[in-house]
Amino acid sequence: MERRLTAIDRAEALGYLGCPGGDAPEELRAQVEAACDLLFRTARPRALVRIFERNDRALPGTAFRLEGEDIMAHLSGCHRVVVMAATLGRETEELLLRFQVKDLAMAVVLDACASAAIESVCNDLEEELRLGLAEEGLCLTGRYSPGYGDFPLSAQSMLCDLLDSQRRMGLTLTPSGLMLPRKSVTALLGVSHTLSSRTRRGCTGCPGYDTCIIRKGGRSCVY
């Protein structure tokens, strides 16, 4: 389904550019604004969502099994699982490629803003789902993606299959597991009857601490 890009978090984009906090020079802020303008005009986000029942590590009716302990902790108490994928689309991919040839500095800024943009698309989608489920008296966890903690990146391929993501929104994987278009996200969210009071573990306990791109962007995957 088609989605709309409603917002881009400038601070997050600046974080990806290595300039966290509010002290970005005026020039850089202007570039970020210009990049956001371009993205608002170009991006055609699309997303797919499906809800599955959950039975321990299995999603009945599918060939998928949940691997790793961290995803199990994330989904503890959840009887259903939402599988989602979202992308900014090939229009954005082409824009990024063009600017790499035309204006590398702008390409860097665009890349950072596009990363913030796909997060924003996911946030909107997640909030909609949460509101919808709340009407049924159900709660939704945050997003958990392959590659977070010990949830293997290889799960990506099965999530794409469950959603038929290539056919339905043009999202494919390379043999090394990279998503194309690049500015895309797959994730699982848990549905439960009660809001769980899981403790936040923070990044330091994560096996991916040293190399985590999310952390370098000044964010955290743990909710």
Binding site: I51, R90, L104, V109, D161, T174, P175, T211
Partner: protein, 784 residues
């Protein structure tokens, strides 16, 4: 097979996957494997479709390709063969034909993705050989979104079988596929390649597909296929919303367009096919209108040939030192910049010529065509006299291209026209032959006629033959200008063909050339020139064309003319504080033009090395320092580097003019490793290193391990830089390092990328870890 006049409609089957899921197959399992485990289930689905009235059923081979089946223990060949045999058995004793069903491989092709065109071709070839061997009656290529992938499949089908080919692609409501292919481009390209029927499947319900099929019908005369979904799926449950009767009712509209081949896709069942057939039995097919348009295309844009269409001439090394250097250095970025500039200046088609002594033209053509398609959405004109280079370019060009050129020489016609026909291109015929360029319009016209006859004899449609009556230099052969114009008129009036003409040559050797060129261009357009080959960056030329299009009536209500000129207020030069600005300041502020201007002025009183070592490098160091201190950020660092680049360009030109030695401080080879397509970091490193005067050999992204090793052995650089962004591709970085070491060439290796650390760099055998682009320059200074 698709134009059986006894029956108004041919019915395909409906969904296979939906039926198998209903029978209990878990989601996410490969349906193709059921032919091994539950052949009876698959056969029963086939039989139900046959009972429902399908004339053609699709074997259960949609994803039975080498990529999707890897790791399952089954080869594509055995899976395809078994699935086709299962379908054949189900159809035994009926009139029903079995199609080898070919869906997308499941990986995006280059240039947006990493799967090579040749690899895709081989994956499809394996399926075709097995399917044809097992007795498939036709090949159905379906659910495709990438025109490049479709071309790989069609070429595999044609080169490994004689079976009829039916192609359907999947579109979004906006009229494009997910990779941006338009319906017009699909029709032009596939009709050219010689498929037997084409259309749409999947994506949407029948009603929503109607506008897309209408568009297809106006670009092709081939039989049309429609195989829609049962409406739209519920996003949460995956169930489709159209009932069989409603589906059939919506399908009726396609009969009016002359669509004759119908079936169903996701969410449909034998009931839908039965309902469709019942409904259509009483509907008389509408008369199929002849196609309304013809032209050329790339995947994302069709250019209809009616009126003036500008062919950009800048991708051509002839007489251009900088371009020649770019070809020798494999500097694709420079070539791509030329492509983008022309697109922005209003070119409709790009001529691509990469012929230069000492360059492997075949390999270069393939590479440049691939690269241009990733950046620019314009049809291409493959310009070469080497048939192998022409074929390499056409094979890689995902659209309908133009071949520039053939001429009246029999040998050339015999060699090149079969290639043009095979790939469905258009062709430019030069009016010259064994005896040279004739001096009169009549003689040139006679050659044009001969070329047309030869093309028709090879099965190339008349509309795809363009004639070039040849521009000769007016300062050398003054009488010839009139002859050329006269010949253009004859080709237009007597043959009705499109006229191509490279006009710039007319003014060679004269002062203020543009005046003559423009005047000749306008006269030629009045005579019937509609495909001028020009430099679209010359505003005066494009202005002349804009004016002409108003006077000829092509630019309705002068809309484009007004848009072009209404805003051209007298331009106020941007305020620049040039008085106080010196070269280092211009670098620091990232002002490209200012840097070039300052450098040109400095060259009047300083030599090149003084400027580089005394001004540019210290300025870059200063910028680097500010970046370290976080006074400026990455985009500013790059802007400064780009500005310095403009200064270096001026210096290089100055050195080249006096034939001096280059200022290169040494070679550095860069690559983003195999499997990784995130190369923005590597590109930043490249710019920075170049600005410190290093010669950078950039192998690009997703570079195979052995290709890096080969390049290291050949180029022998003292320093190699490798980048990888993702954890999954760091392993391929380790392999690349081992392969470089195995060449025995003694070089240092630096690595970088988001997920790398100094520790990890050491572990995989790198000599240096560069945490950012700035540090890579520091490492280079130490090593070289």
């Amino acid at each position: 097979m698709f134009t059986d006049r006894k029956k108004p409609y041919l019915y395909l089957d409906g969904a296979m996957g939906t039926q198998l899921l209903e029978a209990g197959m878990p989601l996410g399992q490969r349906p193709e494997l059921l032919c091994f485990t539950q052949p009876e289930l698959v056969a029963s689905v086939h039989r139900r479709y046959i009972d429902a009235g399908s004339d053609i059923i699709y074997a259960n081979t949609f994803c039975a390709n080498g990529h999707k089946l890897s790791g399952t223990g089954h080869t594509a060949a055995e899976t395809v063969a078994l699935a086709v045999r299962t379908a054949k058995e189900a159809a035994a004793g009926t009139h029903v034909k079995v199609a080898l069903d070919i869906g997308p491989i499941g990986q995006l092709l280059e240039p947006l993705g990493t799967l090579g065109f040749q690899q895709a071709y081989e994956i499809f070839s394996e399926m075709v050989i097995a399917g044809a061997g097992a007795g498939a009656d036709l090949i159905a290529i379906e659910t495709m979104t990438d025109l490049g992938e479709v071309r790989a499949a069609v070429l595999a089908a044609k080169e490994h079988s004689n079976l009829p080919i039916l192609v359907t692609m999947t579109f979004e409501a906006g009229g494009r596929t997910f990779t941006g292919t338009t319906a017009a481009a699909m029709a032009l390209t596939l009709e050219g390649l010689g498929v037997d029927a084409l259309g749409v499947n999947c994506s949407l319900g029948p009603a929503d597909l109607l506008p897309i099929v209408t568009e297809l019908a106006s670009w092709t005369d081939l039989p049309l296929v429609v195989k829609p979904n049962a409406g739209l799926p519920d996003p949460l449950t995956g169930c489709y919303d159209l009932k069989a009767a409603d589906f059939a009712a919506q399908m009726e509209a396609f009969a009016g367009l002359g669509v004759t081949i119908m079936g169903g896709c996701c969410g449909t069942s034998p009931d839908y096919i039965a309902a469709l057939k019942e409904r259509m039995e009483s509907v008389i097919p509408g008369r199929r209108e002849k196609k309304r348009f013809h032209g050329v295309c790339c995947a994302g844009r069709a250019v209809e040939l009616s009126g003036i269409r500008v062919i950009g001439e800048r991708i051509n090394p002839t007489g251009k030192k900088r371009f020649q250097q770019a070809l020798r250095d494999r500097d694709l970025n420079y070539i791509l910049t030329q492509a983008m500039e022309q697109e922005e200046a209003g070119a409709h088609i790009l001529d691509v010529n990469v012929g230069l002594p000492g360059i492997d033209e075949v390999a270069m053509m393939e590479e440049v065509v691939g690269a241009i398609q990733s950046i620019v959405s314009l049809p291409l004109q493959i310009d070469s006299s080497n048939p192998a280079a022409i074929e390499a370019g056409l094979r890689r060009c995902h659209g309908k291209a133009i071949v520039n050129s053939v001429n009246g020489k029999q040998e050339v016609l015999d060699t090149v026209l079969p290639i043009v026909k095979k790939y469905g291109a258009a062709v430019v015929g030069l009016t010259m032959d064994e005896t040279g360029i004739p001096q009169t319009a009549d003689q040139r016209f006679a050659i044009a006629q001969r070329i047309l006859q030869a093309a028709l004899a090879h099965g190339i449609p008349r509309e795809d033959v363009y004639i070039d009556c040849l521009t000769l230099t007016v300062s050398a052969q003054q009488d010839q200008a009139v002859e050329t114009l006269k010949a253009v008129g004859m080709v237009k009036e007597q043959l009705g063909l499109h006229n191509v003409l490279g006009v710039s040559n007319i003014s060679f050797g004269l002062p203020d050339r543009l005046r003559i060129t423009e005047n000749f261009l306008v006269q030629a357009m009045h005579r019937g020139l509609d495909l001028p080959i020009v430099n679209p960056n010359q505003r005066q030329i494009m202005d002349a064309i804009a004016s002409f299009r108003v006077l000829s009536g092509e630019d309705r209500d002068a809309e484009e003319y007004v848009r072009r000129f209404a805003q051209t207020a007298p331009s106020v030069p941007a305020v620049r504080q040039t008085s106080a600005m010196d070269l280092p300041t211009a670098v620091m502020k990232g002002l490209r033009e200012e840097c070039a201007r300052q450098t040109a002025q400095l060259l009047e009183r300083m030599d090149e090395l003084e400027i580089v070592n005394g001004l540019l490098i210290p300025a870059l160091d200063q910028v680097g320092l500010r970046y370290e201190k976080q006074e400026i950020y990455l985009p500013q660092l790059i802007n400064s580097a780009n500005a310095a680049c403009a200064a270096f360009d001026v210096i290089k030109q100055s050195i080249a003019r006096r034939g001096g030695a280059s200022v290169s401080r040494g070679k550095i080879l860069l690559a983003t490793v195999e499997g990784d397509i995130h190369d923005i970091g590597k590109n930043i490193v490249k710019v920075i290193l170049e600005n410190y005067g290093y010669q950078v050999i950039d192998l690009g992204r997703d570079v195979a391990v052995d290709r890096v090793a080969r390049a290291v052995a050949e180029e022998k650089p003292p320093l190699v830089g490798l980048s990888a962004l993702m954890t999954t591709t760091v392993e391929s970085m380790a392999k690349t390092i081992r392969a470089i070491r195995a060449t025995g060439h003694d070089c240092k290796i630096m690595v970088g990328g988001a997920v790398l650390t100094a520790d990890y760099a050491r572990q995989i055998g790198a000599d240096f870890y560069a945490k950012d682009a700035r540090e890579s320059a520091e490492i280079a200074k130490r090593v070289i």
